[in-house]
């Protein structure tokens, strides 16, 4: 068990998987000598060479397409999009091509690859380095979507994503890259299954379902509420597609009160799916409305510290929402 930051855990996962399987390769802008703008691929090119750690041109559509070509030929590419905000030029290749390869060929072809991208805000990244894009991909059958929030989860889930037989969009909360630090296992011991949520903290009164950066915020809010006598169960989804409905329903049945907490713009965010599904399937057990706590519907997070702060959820806002729900 080493103590690692989230970005170090990502790098460890890449390194171990490349060591384990010669088919695994990495491509993207600046992934080579620079080691990526967040250092997630640091040291990989010196170790594995400029082919297996390939600096691509500044063209996301072709990054996705080239990764796809490699996957179709039996490689296990891990493509990096420098920021999730810049994944959109590749949207057609991802949604129309990569996601549909298996289905449209009636199972004759498959497209196992990972597309990694730093997501979310809170680092003064402004409108184009802060977006939360998971909802776009969670609506796409054929894709899996992962969004971890601890170093151990990041490593374990990235390793699993690389070994998965299907394409995985792997979103990394950039605010946690260096801020999150914790113990991480080596090698096979680190592996975690996709599709399983983590019950981060048990509780009896309210279920707080979240993911990504807001896991830590929600935990803080839960601690604060505990002192007020409100017992919050915190669940980190970790994988968004497929998401762990049974873990969430189990919690709902226990508490009868659910908040879904996410960083993206509220309307049409992935939290809508979670809320709609739980409100439908858990209806008989609900003592209060399934409540969404999300970011405002503005196009993206502004640069100004004052506006960024106004945009982002924080412990105060989450605690207030959970308190309201407990008191419903």
């Amino acid at each position: 068990m080493a103590d690692r930051t989230l970005v170090q855990a990502i790098r460890d996962a890449l390194l171990e998987e490349m060591d384990r399987d010669v088919r695994v390769c990495v491509l993207g802008q600046d992934v080579g000598l620079k080691g990526g703008v967040f250092k997630a691929t640091e040291g990989l090119q010196p170790r594995f060479g400029p082919d297996r750690v390939l600096d691509t041109p500044l063209a996301e559509s072709s990054i996705a397409a080239v990764a796809q070509g490699l996957a179709l030929e039996g490689y296990r590419p891990v493509a990096e999009m420098q920021f999730a905000d810049y994944i959109f030029p590749a949207f057609n290749q991802i949604v129309n091509e990569i996601a549909k390869v298996r289905y449209r060929s009636n199972g004759d072809f498959s497209c196992p690859l990972v597309i990694r991208a730093p997501t979310g805000g809170g680092v003064r990244g402004a409108l184009y380095h802060s977006q939360s894009v998971e909802a776009y991909f969670c609506h796409v059958p054929g894709l899996k979507v992962v969004l971890p929030s601890t170093p151990a989860d990041a490593k374990g889930l990235l390793k699993a994503a690389i070994r998965d037989p299907d394409p995985v969009i792997f979103l990394e909360p950039k605010k946690l890259y260096r801020a999150a630090r914790g113990p991480v296992a080596d090698g096979e011991g680190a592996l975690l299954p996709l599709g399983k949520a983590a019950v981060v903290k048990e509780g009896a009164t309210v279920s707080a379902i979240t993911y990504g950066y807001l896991r830590a915020v929600t935990q803080e809010a839960a601690v604060r509420l505990e002192a007020e006598g409100i017992s919050v169960e915190v669940i980190d989804l970790r994988t968004l597609r497929p998401w762990d409905q049974s873990a969430c329903l189990q919690s709902l049945e226990k508490t009868g009160r659910v908040a879904v907490i996410y960083e993206a713009n509220r309307t049409g965010g992935f939290g809508a799916e979670v809320a709609a599904e739980l409100a439908e399937r858990g209806f008989a057990h609900l003592d209060a409305p399934v409540t969404r706590v999300a970011s405002p519907d503005v196009p993206a997070m502004p640069f100004s510290a004052a506006l960024e702060h106004a945009f982002m959820l924080n412990t105060d806002k989450v605690a207030a929402a959970l308190r309201r729900l407990a008191e419903y």
Partner: protein
Amino acid sequence: MSTPAELDGLTRERVLWAYGIVLRARYLDDRRFILNRAGKLAFIISPRGHEVAQVAAITALQPGRDRFCLYYRDFAAALACGFTPEELMLSAFARAADPSSGGRQTPGNFGSRRRGIIIGSSAVGTQIPKAAGIGLALKWRAEGALCYVSFGEGATSQGDFHEGLNFAALHHCPVIFLCENNHWAISVPEARQVAGPGVAARAAAYGIPGVAVAGDDFLAVHAAVRAAAERARRGEGPTLIEARVLRLQSHSTDDDQRAYRDPAELEAEAALDPVPRMRAWLLAVGWLTEPDDARFQEEVAREVEAATVAAEAAPEPDPSTLTRHVYADG
């Protein structure tokens, strides 16, 4: 058209085999149109006018070894790559046994893993950078295989065309980019589609060879593709080839080109059908005789009829399979 002196490694047998493929494509196409008018086939994209170019290109390559990213108009190319008439008819009828997609895609999205035909989609141009990625893998594997990717001149307007060529050229990927330039993208003429001196001339922007050939000249297309293949197998990188062809049908059975094209031009083009021209050339050089040709055509007609009957009788996909193959475990 050229004479056998220029044959560039081609044998008479191989050329006649190619002619047989061209005939099958044409007979199948005729049959499909009849079935479409009878309400039995929902949708067809015809290769009419492109057949000779398509088959000449594939004849210069090695199905089984190479990879093929075909596009929806590559019906004759698909036959040349090994699809049988019955298989293509299964696809036209959207039958369960359609080897490309089990009836999930419109016919024209060809795929077969064992044949190296990479399953396509209908989204124009997406195959181009994908082929660059396949080419990169083949280069790494260094077994001399290459990736052939075809598309219309309309597809050259997509950003993906540029990104694919730039990538393949940068990394010397063994890829042959073949543009079947029929001068129309549905109703949009080349003059409103391709700025500048033309498709082949765009190769220079990436520092790779660009070659324009007459698509009804079997030997010319074959030679261009063969040279590109040798170059690719030698590790020298990609080539862009523009085969100038005619679209002798409307874009698809959902289109009627008389609404936007000059009737005189349509008539003039009809007289330039490359299939009878290939036949005339083979007769002229003595590789084909009238009686042989008649026998050929009869055989093909029989084969096409048998394929049609078998495909029509084949079962439709079971509705319960709708949700299969979304993920590996489903």
